[in-house]
């Protein structure tokens, strides 16, 4: 087993990885830059290394050097940054450091999304119609022609990088140019690669994925599916397992296809096989994520398996230690992503110092976060502040726990999307589990507050106003442009 692991990430996933390493008695090295010095991962590691000026979390050469200097024998990349970066994996291999993830050659294979689609189609699994190549921003004419041939609606997808932020739905030809420009620059910012490819869009659709884990001894098992259909502002907000709308026959077929694809591509460690489900109930394979996913805790809650530990064990050459028959998928788990942003004002990011941060607890509940009261939410990184996961034997039980947990999450100092999450969780269609990708297009139910509480809250507002007069108004941050608008009771776009 490894002695020291460099955690080449930040935020909640760095905290998550450090916790498992410490459980296993493995020394950890964390990274930070000046803007996230106060994050929890910096405090929990055995050693914390400051990224020197210029070097960032995605600076492959700097990270390999840090790993060498601190004597790390393995690097865990988390998600994002260098998680699916074949050259980084190769640099680690050349430096004699284990990259906790696929080999550089396997990574090259799954990251070539078009070749992967074609390889999967060749073994008889349905894939969406797609363009035969990816296009740079400079190839607008070729992209437009390809879109013309392909037909609408279509999905513009980043060639590198993930499903939610890297996926843009184009409903009609007039939207293509502006969407393509936006998608090219978004992909360049998020993934360092502006290439886009076209894929058939299904309306309405459901986005499904299957967690698979494999070792280097030929074992490959699935750990059930997850739904990630509910997205806002091109980001997944709610994820759950099992997908509530699937029949048992569909579910078994989905698992079977995921394992076949995993075998075909030689997946080892933790991988996610992504599918889209159309209105007729047909599955189409879309891509493979060869890394730990943001939504992995819902699978951990149902299976009791620590996926990060499994990744580490497999990377160290150990066998999985469990077979498909040993895996029990228990109950239901739902996760929401709490972001530091203002969903009622164009999802404006809301960095700042957390004045108060008290997360919920109780049975069947898990919160993954890097934050605490007094911690800074940096400007530079993504707004994910915390993940709240609720589990129970039944979906209704898990939803009840999650609604309560979100209502009790006390965060002040930055704006959050907690109120939007509450409204999603209270939506009857979400509660019924019948939602699809058009969910975000429909208005959410308003907040219904019992009259006596409304009166009491009015008193609270009055006292807040009076108290404001006690403190000098100069010390209060004037967050111009933030907050709730009279005309934004409809769902933000």
């Amino acid at each position: 087993m490894f002695r020291t692991i460099l955690v080449a990430n930040r935020g909640e996933i760095a905290v998550r990885i450090i916790r498992t390493c410490r459980d296993m008695g493995i020394r950890t090295v964390a990274l930070y830059d000046d803007s996230d010095l106060s994050s929890l991962h910096v405090r929990l590691a055995d050693e914390s290394v400051r990224l020197s000026s210029g070097a960032l979390y995605h600076d492959a050469a700097a990270l390999v050097q840090i790993a060498r200097d601190c004597g790390a024998d393995a690097i865990h990349p988390g998600y994002g940054f260098l998680a699916e970066h074949a050259e980084f994996a190769r640099a680690c291999e050349e430096a004699g450091i284990v990259f906790i993830g696929p080999s550089s050659t396997a990574l090259e294979k799954v990251c070539d999304k078009i070749a992967t689609l074609e390889a999967v189609r060749a073994v008889g699994i349905a894939v969406p119609r797609h363009s035969s190549r990816a296009y740079h921003a400079s190839e607008w004419d070729a992209l437009r022609d390809a879109a013309e041939r392909h037909g609408y609606p279509l999905m513009l997808k980043s060639y590198s990088g993930g499903r939610s932020q890297g996926m843009h739905l184009v409903r009609e030809p007039t939207q293509l140019e502006s969407m393509a420009q936006h998608a090219h620059s978004a992909a360049l910012t998020a993934f360092g690669d502006d290439r886009l490819y076209l894929e058939e869009a299904f309306l309405p659709a459901r986005y499904l994925e299957v967690q698979i884990v494999g070792d280097r001894h030929g074992n490959l098992v699935h750990l059930g599916e997850r739904d990630g259909t509910i997205q806002h502002n091109h980001r997944k907000m709610v994820e759950e397992s099992p997908a509530p709308y699937l029949t048992d026959a569909q579910r078994k077929e989905l698992w079977r296809q995921a394992l076949a694809i995993g075998r075909l591509l030689g997946c080892a460690g933790a991988c996610t096989v992504e599918f889209v489900l159309d209105a007729q109930g047909r599955f189409f394979f879309t891509e493979v994520k060869a890394r730990i996913q943001v939504e992995h805790p819902i699978t951990e809650m149902r299976t009791g398996i620590d996926l990060v530990r499994t990744q580490i064990q497999v990377a160290a050459g150990e066998p999985l230690g469990f077979s498909q028959d040993d895996v029990t998928l228990r109950g239901c788990a739902i996760q929401v992503r709490v972001n530091a942003e203002d969903p009622w004002n164009h999802y404006l990011p809301s960095p700042g110092r957390l004045r108060r941060f008290r997360f919920p607890g109780g049975p069947g509940l898990r919160v993954d976060t890097y934050a605490y009261s007094g911690c800074d939410v940096p400007v530079r990184y993504d707004p994910l502040l915390a993940k709240v996961v609720a589990w129970d034997d039944t979906r209704a039980g898990a939803l009840g726990r999650l609604r309560r947990a979100v209502a009790d999450f006390a965060i002040s100092g930055v704006q959050t999307n907690l109120s939007l999450i509450q409204r999603i969780l209270n939506d009857p269609e979400f509660a019924a589990g019948t939602y699809d990708s058009e969910f975000a297009q429909r208005p959410l139910p308003g907040v219904e507050v019992p009259p006596e509480h409304l009166r009491n809250l009015a008193i609270a507002a009055a006292l807040a106003y009076i108290r404001r007069g006690i403190d000098s108004s100069g010390v209060l941050p004037d967050r111009a442009g933030s907050g709730w608008h009279r005309d934004s009771r409809k769902l933000p776009q």
Binding site: A410, S412, V447, I459, A460, Y465, R468, V475, W484
Partner: protein
């Protein structure tokens, strides 16, 4: 006593409340004529209002610094606070400071420092939510200071003028 009109999620309440102290204190407020007991906890923290107990019920809150919204366990509430004493003439015992009753834009300043004014005389015009609001003198006296100029945005409760 402060007299405030609070609109929350479309319902309006008139709240009369005594001055608050920084330490934990039990106070009594009047809402639409009813008396309600409130325990306002210690205000040592730099927050606007963290939690309180109204009529035996605890509420945890996150309040927008501009008092346009507030989050409770029920979700986000849109609020609108009007200081009824800022627009209505105050009794002579008032301190003469005139606060912006709602956030908005100063469109006109009708008086100059040093000018004698009568109780209820319009001093400034504040435009907010597409309406012009006259801010009137809380007492007869002399304009001590005007803190704002036409075109200036003001937040809720900011002192805009003083009459002595």
């Amino acid at each position: 006593m402060s007299k405030l009109s609070i609109t929350i999620d479309g319902r309006t309440f008139v709240v009369e409340a005594p001055p608050l102290r920084r330490m934990t204190s039990a106070i009594t407020v009047r809402v639409d004529g009813q008396t309600v007991n409130v325990l306002a906890p210690d205000m040592g923290s730099p927050e606007l209002l963290d939690w309180l107990i109204v009529d035996g019920r605890p509420y945890e809150l996150v309040v927008d610094p501009n008092l346009r919204w507030m989050r409770s366990r029920f979700g986000l509430h849109q609020i609108e606070v009007r200081d009824l004493e800022a627009t209505v003439a105050r009794p002579a015992s008032g301190d003469g400071r005139i606060k912006a009753p709602i956030p908005g834009l100063i469109t006109r300043v009708l008086v100059s420092p040093g000018e004698a004014v009568e109780l209820g005389q319009p001093l400034l015009v504040l435009e907010a939510m597409k309406m012009e609001n006259e801010i009137r003198a809380p007492r007869s006296g002399r304009v001590a200071q005007i803190h704002v100029a036409p075109g200036q945005s003001v937040t809720l409760g900011v002192v805009v003028a003083e009459v002595e």
